[in-house]
Symmetry: C2
Subunit: 145 residues, 2 copies
């Protein structure tokens, strides 16, 4: 392939990835709007529904986001009444986010979302699983070093 070709938009992997990621968020948006959440806020809630009471640092490690993104996002979720933020007693540098009853209750309303999205992709569960694994591997290659 020539240098000419290598710069062609339709031959890049980055562009479909970028477009698909945005289209995925757009697919979630109307479903999440019913819960009053944005997509990144939904990711934080997924973590908290699995493991309540996590620090900003732990959230950052799971979601690959830093405090510059998470601090204002968590403040918004706190304002919405989904969680409480409080300084850790053991280590006053860290802040822990814990679900309110309302935040916990939202889980039931979110339960229908994954299947709705899976349907939208038109892929079988096996295809979805393989794709997730492949994209995950790509992420790991790109993120290390």
């Amino acid at each position: 392939m020539s240098t000419e070709d290598l710069l062609r938009l339709d031959l890049q992997l980055c562009f479909p990835l970028y477009a698909a990621s945005r289209a995925m968020v757009q697919a979630y948006t109307p479903l999440l709007a019913k819960l009053g959440l944005t997509y990144p806020q939904y990711l934080v809630m997924l973590v908290l529904w699995e493991t309540d009471g996590v620090t900003v640092k732990e959230l950052g490690e799971k979601l690959y986001l830093d405090s510059g993104t998470l601090t204002p996002l968590l403040k918004r979720l706190e304002t919405l009444g989904m969680l409480r933020r409080e300084r850790s007693r053991e280590d006053a540098r860290s802040v822990t986010a814990s679900l309110t009853p309302q935040g916990k209750a939202l889980r039931r309303k979110a339960a229908a979302i994954p299947e709705a999205i899976a349907c939208r992709t038109g892929l079988t569960l096996e295809e979805l699983s393989r794709m997730r694994r492949d994209v995950q591997r790509l992420f790991e290659k790109l993120s290390k070093q």
Copy 2:
């Protein structure tokens, strides 16, 4: 799979996609910094290097971005001296972006980027090609309707 499982972060396709897309942009960032470009600005340049003199509308159709994103982005590229923006004479509603000599010249410096990124993924050209096709198909499914 239970509803419990369906909400697990590590079983979603959306999250690897979101993380990989951001990691891909991060991989480009230091390479593009040498050209003075951000990743979305680079995408606009890719379009212009293929087809010089496109309207905001055409750019939006190729990149799936709207004027709210493109107008300020194009103004920044104009300030950088990469392109000129001018009202079309045939239809005064539309605005055309055309490369300056400096914008055209930047292509040569960008020529090395695609291969550098391809190496970073650690995938063969066949694997990259298959992945691009799969992600492209996912995008098409998600974006229609």
